[in-house]
């Protein structure tokens, strides 16, 4: 069964135009001008139960707006929406009992009271029975090592400690779907990886469906079997991370450092017949660009025996680079394909 089903979802905001200067401000007082901004433009996707899906895109691409529609906070302008069998904005109170929400930039917890008291209050709000609550809390507290923090007021916690508590708060009622909006923002590497491990375990043990937005692609690499990429309100890629890499990672670069001067022509000669492109800054440093379908070792084999090499560095295109270039071009089509097909914003299903 699909946990989340979205069909032609659209959200339009009316934004007030502020005219310039004092004169403009007066004009605004009497006659306001509005511009329509479409934050989410007819997107469709389906997330099956038990999947961890990453939702990425530049700032302002419409990620948060989508999450807010999926969690029932915003009412969509048009489109069909079903999350955990409910239409979120219609039966909000019943629906939210089934989901957990963590907004990285906002707290679920009460600022002045101890963490444990916040949990108690949430237990009452979510109508979790005392027995279930105790079992669940013990499990979560142990897993995230929170024992020492439970009696401290939230305002005295560090961001990492607070974030772990937020996760517990969002999971106390054992939701089947968990929404995370930038859960690792501003956290150090240790806490980040702790949270990633934790989310993975939750998904494996309880089958929790997780949808998370993030700017940290390591979150995606560590967690997500699938990634949906958004640009300007449209889905530009929906599929596995590996496929994305293969599609976009067009090749590898190998950096050579030579002990004695080696001419570019010489290098070209050695790899004759191979689709390798050489470039050199000077006689001691050279770069070879090797397409994906060619083995790096084959190229090395040709060069290593003949040249006086002091250092070799192989550079894989990493996800950050891939995503950066997609963001910049605004399309997940391969550059060549995009050129061939003028309408570069087609959705790619892999």
């Amino acid at each position: 069964m699909a946990a989340i089903q979205v069909q032609d979802l659209r959200k339009t905001f009316k934004v007030q135009k502020n005219r310039e200067g004092l004169k403009g401000a007066f004009a605004d007082l009497f006659k306001r001008e509005y511009t329509e901004v479409t934050a989410v433009k007819d997107i469709s996707f389906t997330i099956p139960e038990g999947e961890i899906c990453g939702y990425i895109g530049e700032n302002g691409a419409g990620k948060s707006t989508t999450i807010k529609m999926l969690t029932g906070i915003l009412v969509p302008t048009s489109g069909v929406l079903s999350v955990g069998g409910y239409v979120p904005y219609e039966e909000r109170e019943k629906f939210v009992r089934n989901i957990g929400v963590v907004f990285g930039q906002r707290s679920q917890l009460w600022w002045d009271i101890g963490v444990i008291e916040s949990f108690q209050l949430l237990r009452k709000v979510y109508r979790v029975s005392e027995a279930d609550y105790k079992k669940r809390l013990d499990e979560l507290v142990e897993r995230l090592a929170l024992q020492e923090l439970l009696n401290r007021p939230v305002r005295k916690l560090s961001l990492g400690q607070r974030m772990r508590c937020e996760l517990v708060a969002a999971l106390l009622h054992n939701p089947s779907i968990l929404f995370l909006d930038e859960p690792t923002i501003g956290l150090d590497i240790v806490v980040k990886s702790e949270i990633r491990d934790f989310l993975k375990d939750m998904n494996r043990e309880h089958g929790t469906t997780i949808l998370l937005t993030t700017h940290d692609l390591q979150d995606i690499e560590a967690l997500c079997s699938r990634v949906i990429m958004l640009d300007d309100g449209r889905i530009i890629y929906d599929g596995g991370l590996e496929e994305l890499k293969q599609r976009w990672g067009t090749g590898r670069e190998v950096l050579f450092q030579f002990g004695s001067a080696t001419k570019l022509g010489q290098l070209n000669h050695w790899t004759d017949g191979m689709p390798v492109t050489w470039s050199a800054e000077n006689d001691l440093n050279a770069k070879a660009w090797i397409p994906l379908d060619l083995n790096v070792s084959d190229v090395l084999g040709r060069v290593v025996g003949q040249a006086d090499i002091t250092d070799i560095k192989i550079i894989e295109t990493n996800t950050d680079d891939i995503v950066r270039s997609i963001y910049q071009s605004g399309s997940a089509e391969k550059p060549e394909e995009a050129r061939a097909e003028q309408d570069g914003k087609e959705v790619v299903h892999v």
Binding site: F13, Q16, N59, S64, T65, K68, T71, G72, I73, L74, V75, Y89, R92, E93, K94, V96, R97, I99, V101, F103, Q105, R106, S107, Q108, W110, D112, I113, E117, Q120, L121, K124, V125, Y126, R127, D181, E182
Partner: protein, 261 residues
């Protein structure tokens, strides 16, 4: 039952946080009382110059003032919408409210609960008891139940009006200045409406019915037969305005735009 349990829980938490700032608690109680005292002294000053205000003597007007304080205290304790726009719309805390399984308006009431305001209600009861005995008002079997019913109705009227007005924040980005204006108008309701001109009477009775949170219901206890039928209308007006308020609210929530990221 669920909601009642939540009220208790939130009250407990209020106590836990507030009792750590005990001085703050008493400052709030005292400033509340001083505010009421200035109004009260104003009434006494008026009656130093005249014996009757539109046909009502000092004890009667003081009794009405006492009654007025009771629902107002309950309302201020449980329904506190000051700064809603600032806190929930501009800062986007409404997001959090909407992802929890209790009615969103109710959650907002709970989060802003303000028990010190109840002290005003007790003072109001004392004022009613003193001026009532000065007037020799009879204490009937129905006095207490009707007092409770009228108090709840008046709270419903306040809640309805303020909820409807606050729901305007869902439409306009800027916080509106209409709430303080209302706050001033509501104090008109504690004087005999007959002293105002016709237009204000209609306004206070049917449009923003603040006469129903003070003078009309109090008139029943004062055995003022000319306002008896109005007094009995109080629960109806309460229900109607609470209904309007909730409808406006629920409609407004669908327009909620969220804030920032």
């Amino acid at each position: 039952m669920y909601y009642f349990g939540l009220v208790i829980e939130y009250l407990k938490n209020y106590m836990k946080t507030r009792l750590t700032y005990r001085a703050d608690f008493w400052v709030e109680v005292i400033s509340d009382l001083l505010f009421q005292a200035t109004n009260f002294i104003f009434i006494l000053v008026i009656f130093m110059h005249t014996n009757s205000l539109g046909g009502w003597n000092q004890n009667e007007v003081v009794f009405v003032y006492g009654f007025f304080m009771v629902p107002f205290g309950v309302f201020s304790c449980f329904v506190n919408m000051w700064g809603f726009s600032e806190r929930y719309i501009v800062k986007g805390e409404m997001d959090r409210i909407l992802t929890r399984p209790a009615h969103n308006l109710f959650q907002i009431f709970l989060e802003n609960i303000d028990p010190p305001a109840l002290v005003g209600s007790f003072i109001g009861l004392i004022i009613m008891a003193i001026s009532g005995s000065n007037l020799g008002l009879p204490f009937e079997w129905w006095t207490i139940p009707v007092l409770i019913l009228f108090t709840l109705s008046a709270v419903a009227i306040y809640t309805g009006i303020y909820t409807a007005l606050t729901s305007l924040s869902f439409y306009s980005d800027a916080p509106t200045g209409i709430l303080p204006l209302m706050y001033n108008i509501q104090s008109y309701g504690r004087y005999p409406v007959t002293i105002y001109n016709r237009a204000i009477q209609v306004l206070l009775t049917w449009i923003i019915p603040f006469a129903f949170v003070g003078i009309y219901p109090a008139a029943l206890f004062l055995q003022r037969d000319e306002m008896k039928s109005m007094a009995l209308l109080t629960p109806v007006v309460g229900l109607v305005f609470l209904g309007i308020g909730l409808m406006a609210w629920n409609y407004g929530v669908r327009r909620y735009k969220g804030a920032g990221s």
